[in-house]
Amino acid sequence: MELIPILSTIILVATISTFLLAIGAYILFKVRERRGEKYFVQNPANVQGELVTPEDNLSPRDVFKENKPSQYPKRKALYVEDFTSNQKREPKPVTPTEPREYVTQKLHSTLKKEAANFESVTSDVKADENKFLKYTREGYIPTSKDKSGEELKWR
């Protein structure tokens, strides 16, 4: 008994049947679609909706603050980790000959970039940024704009 001719016949019949089934099913689908319910999408310029929220309508930032004790330490660790990894990536190590203001500005710009990615963190981020700014009568200023002369910019 030869298996290949038998299997070939089976496959041939199956393929032809599949063709007929697919074409027939498609025609039936089109016929039913024409008879069935139609949904027309309308897009006016403005639509009135209804917002259902819990009475204690905390904003996402407030909800975040609710979880702050568990969130905050992680974010701080992330800052430290990223700063450390950034430092590792920097080919030039910080040497005593580099001016302190360059170091503070580099730190400040690095933190500012990271802060931009975490918009939902509010005063905590600003507090971190303010660490590296000098507080004067005019408010927080970058150390480069500090006009107090040659003395140490920050400790």
Binding site: I4, N43, V47, G49, S59
Partner: protein, 467 residues
């Protein structure tokens, strides 16, 4: 679910300015174009017929020669496609396995658009409350449902206990405007930097958010596509679709993710950077595949799109052939509409080479590949019936079945899926893919003829839960 809470109702105005005009499908608009191209083809055939006797080839030998060349080309493309996908998928998995990403827990809004989903919406929301993530909210947008969906979701509004924290569920009720407008309403309401868009009948795995969001630590990533799996298995058609999702869709996304160029973020699960959505202009209603359209818009803006295999969304697949054809009809026409919308990028690779590559690959998968598959099958049927070469079709099937078995085995092993699905690979191409390809070809013809198209609604059973 928690007990009664105080609920506040507010009337809001939702803007639709960012939605384009409804895609127009005037019937027979392109009939002149079809007739003209047909006439040109006829003239070319007449020229060939007239000049053929002047060459050494006879008509019979020309047909034989061209058929052999076409088959060899088809086989070459088939093997290239399969091994290319497998190779890229392998590289991606290597990279994925050894890459370490730090914890990243930004606030995420999960947007759930619903339309007549009363049977399944509660299971979907339950799955969202079981997410292993501590910093998210859920926004359910009711797109003018006509059943009891509104009542079902308003019961869920409030603060609920999630796995790690309290989760706020807000509901927006709006007039029916389509899935795109529902998603846009939720995205606009959200204040989060990241939004997860899903379907109202999908259920997410517990670590979906945590796995997907970590990729956004890279600033170039604009969106992350998730892994879609079939929930209602056990039937012949749904098992075949399960295999298709694993082998045909997810494996391809894995390969695309290696280049950060995933071409379609699936509707059941997609995590987006809100700034990328804003640049892309949010969801549009001018195609019937808003997910494909949005993905192409995001890619066109220069963002990269990643795929996360462990961000899983379980969805109900159609159980009847008619429902399956309805789904694939919409997918095919929607994808072709999206490609046509971005066709300028296909011929301008200097603008965005990645996007050009993605568009051409989508064009190939939607138009050329199904036609080649059907043509090959017709050839072997003709050879068997007209010339008695029945064994040819056996060897053709055997070769493809072997290829499909190998791919299925690899895909199932990688995704740690059910091994029993591999057995379906034997009939996968000959039966299932042939039906789908015929549907795709007919849909393509309808799209180019400009025949009107309407949204349909797949019947959901809502009997299964992913948990």
């Amino acid at each position: 679910m928690s007990g009664k809470q105080q609920i506040k109702r507010t009337t809001i105005t939702l803007e639709n300015d960012h939605l384009n005009n409804q895609y127009e499908n005037p019937e027979k608009k392109y009939l002149k174009r079809i007739l003209l191209s047909g006439l040109i083809s006829l003239i070319l055939i007449m020229i060939i017929a007239y000049t053929l006797p002047m060459t050494v080839l006879s008509i019979n030998s020309l047909l034989e020669y061209s058929t052999i060349v076409a088959l060899v080309l088809f086989l070459f493309i088939l093997l290239l496609r399969y091994f290319g996908i497998l190779a890229f998928a392998y590289f991606y998995l290597n990279e994925y396995t050894f890459k370490k990403l730090n914890g990243f827990n930004p606030f995420i809004s999960v947007i759930v658009p619903v339309y007549n989903e009363e049977k399944v919406v509660e299971n979907s929301i339950k799955s969202l409350l079981n997410l292993d993530y501590e910093n998210y909210e859920i926004i359910v947008v009711n797109d003018g449902s006509t059943d009891h969906t509104k009542q079902a979701i308003e019961k869920l509004a409030g603060f609920h206990k999630g796995t790690r924290s309290e989760v706020k569920i807000s509901v927006i009720n709006k007039p029916n405007g389509g899935k795109a407008s529902a998603l846009n309403a939720g995205i606009t309401y959200s204040q989060a930097e990241f939004v997860l868009c899903m379907d109202g009948d999908s259920q997410l795995s517990t670590d979906s958010l945590r796995m997907a969001v970590r990729h956004f630590q890279k600033p170039e990533i604009g969106a992350v596509a998730g892994n879609v799996k079939v929930l209602n298995r056990g039937k012949f058609l749904t098992d075949l679709q399960s295999l298709e999702y694993i082998e045909g869709l997810n494996m391809v996304r894995t390969a695309q993710s290696f280049m950060r160029l995933v071409n379609i973020i699936p509707g059941p699960i997609g995590l987006f950077r809100k700034s990328a959505l804003e640049q892309a202009g949010f969801y549009s209603s001018d195609t019937f595949a808003e997910d494909a359209d949005l993905t192409l818009k995001i890619l066109a803006k220069g963002w990269k799109i990643y795929y996360e295999p462990r961000a899983i969304s379980y969805t109900e697949a159609p159980e009847k052939l008619q429902q399956l054809l309805k789904q694939r009809y919409r997918w095919t026409r929607g994808i072709i509409q999206s490609i046509r919308k971005h066709k300028k990028l296909m011929i301008n690779p200097t603008i965005n080479l990645g996007d050009t590559f993605v568009l051409w690959s989508m064009f190939y998968e939607a138009l050329i590949w199904p036609t080649m598959n059907i043509a090959a099958n017709i050839f072997f049927i003709f050879a068997a019936l007209a010339f008695g070469f029945t064994s040819l079709i056996f060897f053709w099937w055997a070769a493809l079945a072997l290829l499909d078995l190998t791919t299925a085995l690899y895909s199932v092993a990688v995704e740690k899926e059910e091994l029993r699905l591999v057995a379906y690979a034997i009939i996968y191409r000959m039966v299932f893919i042939l039906i789908i390809d015929i549907c795709k070809t007919m849909s393509t013809i309808e799209e180019f003829l400009g025949i009107k198209m309407h949204w349909g609604k797949l019947d959901r059973l809502g009997t299964l839960s992913a948990q």
